[in-house]
Structure formats: structure tokens, C-alpha cells
């Protein structure tokens, strides 16, 4: 196929892919009055930042942003630490019940989160963490996928390296910290990005376990505002833009790591 034909096909598909984001952007900067006129909104006749100032005036956007960063960062730290430790054990250590346990963990990937939310909710209440950030953080940090990724990656670390260190008298913790982890920087990058992204975007579970609006994260607030704004898409899209902008910026800056990481999830 000719290069320019290929370019034409790709560019058209990209235009379609970009359209929803473009629509969000345009509507976020369109005055409320225009949106209800029923014309096409492919270009705002009058550009305004009212939707944003209105949001900042009425709601604690700063608090919600801080909450989001805090919850996503702590979840990521807990999840990645646990996943790396477990991944090392499943990849490099022989212990009783290793294979059945790994299979059991993998099978939890087939559980849709919403299907076990009622028992999870009772568990969180029983542990006395309902209504706190920990009710969001701890259940989210329990992921099978991260263990799966960590194990896949660590299997590629040569056994000879570990044996050599063992002969020199290094214990497993030393080997893990000094030899395996430095070789796993790409893995750590993937786990951090995926975990942070998943937590940043989660809205249903936090909405169920966080009761006070002061503790809301951005996506929870977005869902909450959907009820407040009804069909005022201007305000809603402004908030949607604020919610996804940090991840979009992060993605564009770290695209190489993101893509390498995602690609690695598919390697057998």
C-alpha cells in the first residue's frame, strides 16, 4: 500500500478517535446558554471559562484533587510493594502449594468487582475502616494482575545470578533488594503506572464507602456532580476534563514507559 494511502486511512481513523475528546473540550468551554439552543456545538460561538470558574466557586476542587493524589499514591505504593514481593516468590522460590496458590490468585481475575461488592462492603464495615481512605485503598491494592505481571517479568531474571549471590552468602531479602529489583525497573514503572491509573479512575467503590464529600476523589465528585448538573453538559465536561487531564498529561510525558509496559502484559 502506498505510504500516502496508509497515511490517509490512519489519519481518518485518528480523527474519529479524537472526536470524543474534542467534543468534551469544546463543550467545556461553551457557555451554558448556547448548549440548550439545540444547534450543533462543533465550535463554540462564544468562548468562555465560566464553566470552570463556576466549578471552583461552588465546590472544593482543590481538596478533591489532593484526595485523588493521596489515595492513588498510597494504593500504588501498597500494591506495587506487595506485588513485587509476591512476584519474586512465585517466580524464584519453591514453596509448598505454590502452583495451586498462583492458580487461585489468577482465577480471582474472573471475579467482576461489582459481583462481590456486598460482602466486600460488609468486610470493610467489620474491619472498622468504613468511611475512611483505607476502605478505598486496601481492597484496591488486592490485585491478581499485578502479581501475574511481576511473576512473568521476574522469571526472565537468570537463575545463575541468584545462585552466584547465594554462594556469596546473600539471603533472599538481600538478593531481592540488591539484584532482582535493580533489574526490574521497567516492571516497576508498569506496575506504578497501571496501579495509579486504575485507582485514579475508580469511582463506584469509593462512592459506596466514602460518605462525606470532603473525602471524595475527583471521579467520585464527577459522578456526584452528574446528579447535581443534570443535563448541564458544560459544567459536567469541565469537571470531566479536570478529572482526566492529569492522566493525559502523565501519559503523553511517559508514553514510552506506558506503551512498553502495556506491551509487556501480553508477553507469554
Amino acid at each position: 500500500m502506498r505510504t500516502w494511502t496508509r497515511f490517509g486511512v490512519c489519519a481518518s481513523i485518528c480523527a474519529v478517535m479524537l472526536f470524543p475528546l474534542y467534543a468534551m473540550l469544546v463543550v467545556a468551554f461553551t457557555p451554558k446558554s448556547e448548549l440548550f439552543n439545540g444547534g450543533t456545538h462543533l465550535w463554540p460561538a462564544r468562548f468562555t471559562t465560566d464553566n470552570f470558574t463556576n466549578l471552583f466557586d461552588r465546590f472544593p476542587i482543590g481538596t478533591w484533587f489532593t484526595n485523588s493524589v493521596l489515595v492513588a499514591a498510597i494504593t500504588t505504593a501498597v500494591a506495587v510493594t506487595c506485588n513485587l514481593l509476591a512476584g519474586y516468590a512465585f517466580a524464584k522460590l519453591h514453596f509448598w502449594g505454590r502452583s495451586p496458590l498462583f492458580f487461585l490468585i489468577l482465577s480471582t481475575m474472573m471475579i467482576p468487582a461489582q459481583a462481590i461488592m456486598i460482602p466486600q462492603f460488609r468486610m470493610v464495615s467489620a474491619l472498622g475502616i468504613f468511611g475512611t481512605f483505607w476502605a478505598v485503598i486496601l481492597p484496591s491494592a488486592a490485585t491478581a494482575f499485578g502479581i501475574f505481571l511481576a511473576r512473568q517479568f521476574m522469571q526472565s531474571v537468570p537463575d545463575e545470578l541468584l545462585e552466584a549471590a547465594r554462594v556469596d552468602g546473600a539471603g533472599n531479602l538481600t538478593i531481592f533488594l540488591r539484584i532482582v529489583l535493580p533489574l526490574c525497573k521497567p516492571l516497576i514503572a508498569v506496575l506504578v503506572l497501571l496501579s495509579f491509573m486504575a485507582q485514579w479512575n475508580d469511582f463506584l467503590w469509593p462512592l459506596i464507602v466514602l460518605k462525606t464529600p470532603e473525602l471524595y476523589t475527583l471521579p467520585v465528585s464527577l459522578r456526584f456532580l452528574q446528579g447535581q448538573y443534570d443535563a448541564n453538559y458544560g459544567g459536567l465536561m469541565a469537571m470531566a476534563l479536570l478529572t482526566c487531564l492529569p492522566l493525559v498529561v502523565l501519559f503523553v510525558l511517559l508514553q514510552r514507559y506506558f506503551v512498553q509496559g502495556l506491551a509487556r502484559t501480553g508477553i507469554k
Binding site: 496508509r6 462543533l42 509448598w96 459481583a115 465536561m237 501519559f251
Partner: protein
Amino acid sequence: MAAVETVDRTTAERGGSHGRRQLVIREGVTGYLFVWPNLVLLTLFLFVPLGWALLLSLQDAKSFGPATWVGLDNYRTLFTDSVFWRVLLNSLVFTAATVPTSVAIGLVLANLLNRALPARNSLRTIIYLPIVISGLVTSLIGLLLFDEGVGILNGVTRSLGLGNVDWQTNGGLAMLSVVLMTLWTRIGFAMVIYLAGLQDIPEDLYESAQLDGASELQQFRFITVPMLRASTLFLVVMNVIWSFQVFDVVYVMTNGGPGFSTSMLVTYAYDRGFGPSRDFGYGATIGVVLFVITLVFSLIQLRSSRQEA
């Protein structure tokens, strides 16, 4: 925690018996020392809730009043519940509409964008971008596009003189709108996986095919597609799981409507458990059935791929 303690005790008892055996046991203990933080989290928030859901599915449990054991009554009700069969069918239709399409588009795009092309990196970025957009934001954009009253698409069709399209009141079109927004978030991932797979195909395969006079299409059909089998299998398994577990887009965009025409297994389970009826037992039953269906499907996929390999 408990597991670590038991293993600890056995080590103490057997300590100093045989050197090799001791080493094996010590590695066993270390294994659990590394696994336990994760195991505690998984036990508390996945294993126990799953078992709990299994028990709930055998109970008549509502939000108030004591729960009573009812045996398999919930399952019996489920199999005669016409809404359940309807949402199962919807989930199958949704899966059939999303999985092959997203995988195929990802395959074509990966091939188009694998070779030198003007602005290649920007084009790739645009296709990847929806991966980081959350299900909630995707759904709200979907509402903005497909809203029958003030939505953008109807604005366009109206100004072209084509009138309104009933995206929200026609069941089939509502399903289409949900499928389209889902594809939007999934194509990028398929492309990432295929681009990675393409790097592993040896270049000389294509060179010798060209010498034999194979056309571009033949090379694609007889070299590229077969060599990407592993990537395809992975993508199909992941996409089927995601499609069967679809929630956000349906919940926010259509809430299952109009009627039950876009209601899926998970949204139905959620509606029954958390909705006005607060029927915990019945909601859990749907969840258990969904888990079993997904598990069986994945096992069949893995088994058949192993046999072919």
C-alpha cells in the same frame, strides 16, 4: 499469617534433621514470608468475599430482617427469570460485537503504523490516548454525543436535515452507542499488543515471500496473522473477560435501558443487590454464575491454545 506460622513451627520441629530437607523447608518459609502481605489483602478482600457471596447465594438475604437458608432456591429462580436470560443474551451480543471488532481494528492499525509514516508517533499517541480515560469520563462523553435532546450527534444530523436519531429510546441503537464507546477505549490496547508482536516476526520471512512473488495481502494473510497467534489469543481472552464484566459504560450511559435492552449480567447483579430491592442473595447468585461462566470460558481458551501449540 496463619500459613506462615504453621510453616514456622514445622521448621522448628524438624530443625537440624537433614541439611537438604532443611534448605527446602527454609525456602518454603521464605516463600510465604514474601507472599503474605499480598495473601492477607487477597484473603480479606477477594477470597473471603467470594466465599461469602457463595453463601449469600444460598440465602434469602435482604437489607433488613434476618437472612434465611433457602438452598438452591435463588438458582432455581434465576433459571426461570426471563430478565436473567435477556441480560445473558445482551452480554453475549455485546461480547460478540466488541471483541472481534476491537481486535481486528487493532490488528489493521498496528500493521499500518508499524512501517515508516509521516507523523507516525502522533498518530499512535492519538489512538492510545483513550486507554487512560476512565470508564466514567468515557460514559459522560458518550452521553454528550448520543443524548437525544442536546447531544452533539443529533445536532449534526439535524443541521444536515436528517432529523433526530433515537439513540436512547431505540434498544438496538442504545446498544450500538454503548458498543461504540467501548471500542473507543479498547482499540489502543489491541494496537499496543499487536505492535509488540510484530517486532518479533523475523524480517527474512517477508523477504523470501517477496522473492516468491507473494502480494502484500498474501504476506499479511499467510505470515503476519499466523505469526501473531499468541497476541491474538491473549487479546481475545482479555477482551472477553472485560466484555463479560462490562459495567461503567452501561451503568452511566444507559443504566440498562431503554427497558432491559442494554442491561448486562453485572449491571443486573448490581441492580438487584444495590438497587431498590436490595436483594443481596439474588445479586450474589448472578455474580456467582457470572464468575463460573468466565472461568469456564477462560479454561477452554487456554486448553485449546495449549493443544494447538
